[in-house]
Amino acid sequence: MVIYGLISGSIITLGAVGLSLTYGILNFANFAHGDIMTLGAFLALICLTLMQALRIPATTFGALSFGLPMVLALMMAMVLTGGVAILIDRILYRRLRKSGRIVLLIASVGVAFGLRNVIQFIWGPLPQYYSAEIQLARKIPLLGIRIKPDQIFIIGLAAFLVGMLHLFLQKTKTGKAMRAASDNIELARVSGINIDRVILYTWIIGAALAAAAGILGGLENKFITPNSGWEMLLPIFAAVILGGIGSPYGAIAGGMIIGLSEEISTAFISTAYKPAVPFVIMVAVLLIKPRGLFGGK
């Protein structure tokens, strides 16, 4: 159960880190974040089909259920999703930035419905599969737990991406500028930080991480549907609020806590109510510590 919590926690974390970044820097709650995840998952599906057409050998990596095409598709989809996010920003959000954060929020709800239905229009509502293979859990000799090799990959990749983000935010100039903009965008602007550039990077990173989350979610569940991302939105928001809005590090803790408590809750309540767990945690956070564990904005 803890293992499953860690896996779903890693996926939620990837989504939450991206959402927290955009929330902090662009200063609005992006309700399309879940559907950006779905978009990433489906773009990966296109890339995968493309690579089959190009006959890239699909020999699987060791014990994993997928091979080179899936990894390439993952990277391509992350880049493409970042591109789409920038495109949406250029067409829509940029023009609305002066109208205030709530107008942006409404616009993002429209984007969410638009994206999801474009995906549903193309692929239909039925589940789509990355591969038809079924993988059996193996026992890790030392720890004595059963886990599928794919799941190790999911946790590993999520940790790797979050680690990269950490290095980016701490070590690079753009990363530092992003943190400054998240703390106080006006102060950042007058200190000569190029805000447009910061916004551009925020969208690319946020959307790419969302895409990764969507794809890893697809790998774990074995299928993706046009609603996959939307169903993740509530846990992701709960994670962001729990960790404190605008704090990527808080989002990591929040994501893990939400993922674990969702799984552990199944020991006490019916699985049918698993999706309500993030909401209950969120209510508790709002009542007790509304700024989140790590004191966000």
Partner: protein, 346 residues
């Protein structure tokens, strides 16, 4: 002639649905248009209203039902009042946890409660009959009107087919009158309230909370009143829907799409303007129902057509936000007669 009657009868059906949406829009207008409260759990309140009313007024559980409670067979007005009360209680809870915080928290909290309500409707079969839904919800004054119809038909056996077609749908016309009457009352109430000192405080909160609290007003209390009132109106809409449809289940409330449509209606019509809320409801419902007609001409599957319709509405929303952010009818700048005069005077 028959085709005209057919169109008329469809018109009544169309206007009843649009009228129910108009009620939802008026509720949202008080929350968002007046006070700036962002509620995206509209479908949740709508469903709570519908289920409360159905359980209060519907028949007791039958042998094939899963549910073990409800079905008190109470009269329609009790159902409406129950729906209003129940939504008020849910709104109090949501307001209590999120209205002290920034506006986005309310948005997230309302989406959360809508999700929880959806889960309850689906899973608590002892109460909601789960996917089998609640059947035979009694429409108000149905039998006397039906008796009147059959009385008329047997008294005038030689009436033309067209008259018969029209008369036989009298119930729809009655219900349309009921819905439009409620829309009119709510319109009057919300126009009166925005012109009152209370309404002015709400608008001031929307513009700048800090100033309002500096002026000594209890911002939280006013926000709560606005949120609860708006949610109660949404519950009323749910009750009206249940008694018209006579059957509800967890799928009747295309949860997100319902909420989304109401938002587009209000924004397109003009937030903060009650006339705009009603106008938006009728226009957007017209577009929505119209695209349903057109779908017959597209060689696409039903699901694709549904997606296409939502994409259309989503694009429409973004266009309104980009090109005409105040909607068709913007908000009236001066709602107080005194203000209008002083401006003319000065």
């Amino acid at each position: 002639m028959e085709s005209i009657i057919g169109v008329l009868n469809y018109g009544a059906f169309f206007a009843i649905t649009a009228g129910i949406y108009a009620i939802l829009c008026l509720g949202l207008n008080i929350q968002w248009g007046y006070t700036g409260l962002f509620n995206i759990g509209i479908a949740g309140f709508y469903a709570v209203g519908a289920y409360t009313s159905a359980l209060l007024c519907g028949p007791p559980p039958g042998p094939l039902d899963w549910r073990t409670v409800g079905g008190l067979g109470l009269p329609f007005p009790v159902g409406v009042l129950g729906a209003i009360l129940m939504c008020g209680i849910v709104a109090l809870f949501i307001g209590f946890i999120s209205l002290r915080l920034k506006e986005d928290y309310l948005a997230i909290a309302t989406i959360g409660i809508a999700e929880v309500i959806r889960l309850i409707l689906k899973n608590e079969s002892w109460l909601t009959n789960s996917v089998w839904g609640l059947k035979h919800i009694p429409p108000p004054l149905h039998s006397p009107i039906q008796r009147g119809i059959s009385g008329f038909l047997s008294a005038n056996p030689d009436a033309s087919v067209a008259v018969k077609a029209l008369i036989s749908k009298s119930y729809n016309w009655f219900y349309l009158g009921l819905v439009l009457g409620i829309v009119a009352i709510l319109y009057w109430v919300s126009e009166r309230s925005i012109r009152s000192p209370w309404g002015r405080v709400l608008r001031a909160i929307r513009e700048d909370e800090t100033v309002v609290s500096a002026a000594g007003k209890n911002v939280f209390r006013f926000k709560m009143q606005s949120f609860v009132l708006g949610s109660m109106i949404m519950g009323m809409a749910g009750s009206l829907y249940a008694h018209y449809a006579m059957f509800i289940d967890a799928n009747s409330f295309e949860p997100l799409y319902g909420t989304f449509l109401v938002w587009v209606m209000l924004i397109a019509g003009g937030s903060g303007n009650s006339k705009g809320a009603i106008l938006g409801a009728f226009i957007i419902w017209g577009i929505w129902a119209g695209t349903d007609f057109m779908s017959g001409y597209l060689a696409l599957s039903a699901i694709r057509v549904a997606s296409l319709r939502i994409i259309t509405i989503a694009i429409l929303l973004e266009l309104v936000l980009l090109l005409r952010p105040s909607g068709l009818l913007g908000e009236e700048k001066f709602v107080s007669k005194m203000m209008g005069k002083s401006k003319r005077g000065g």
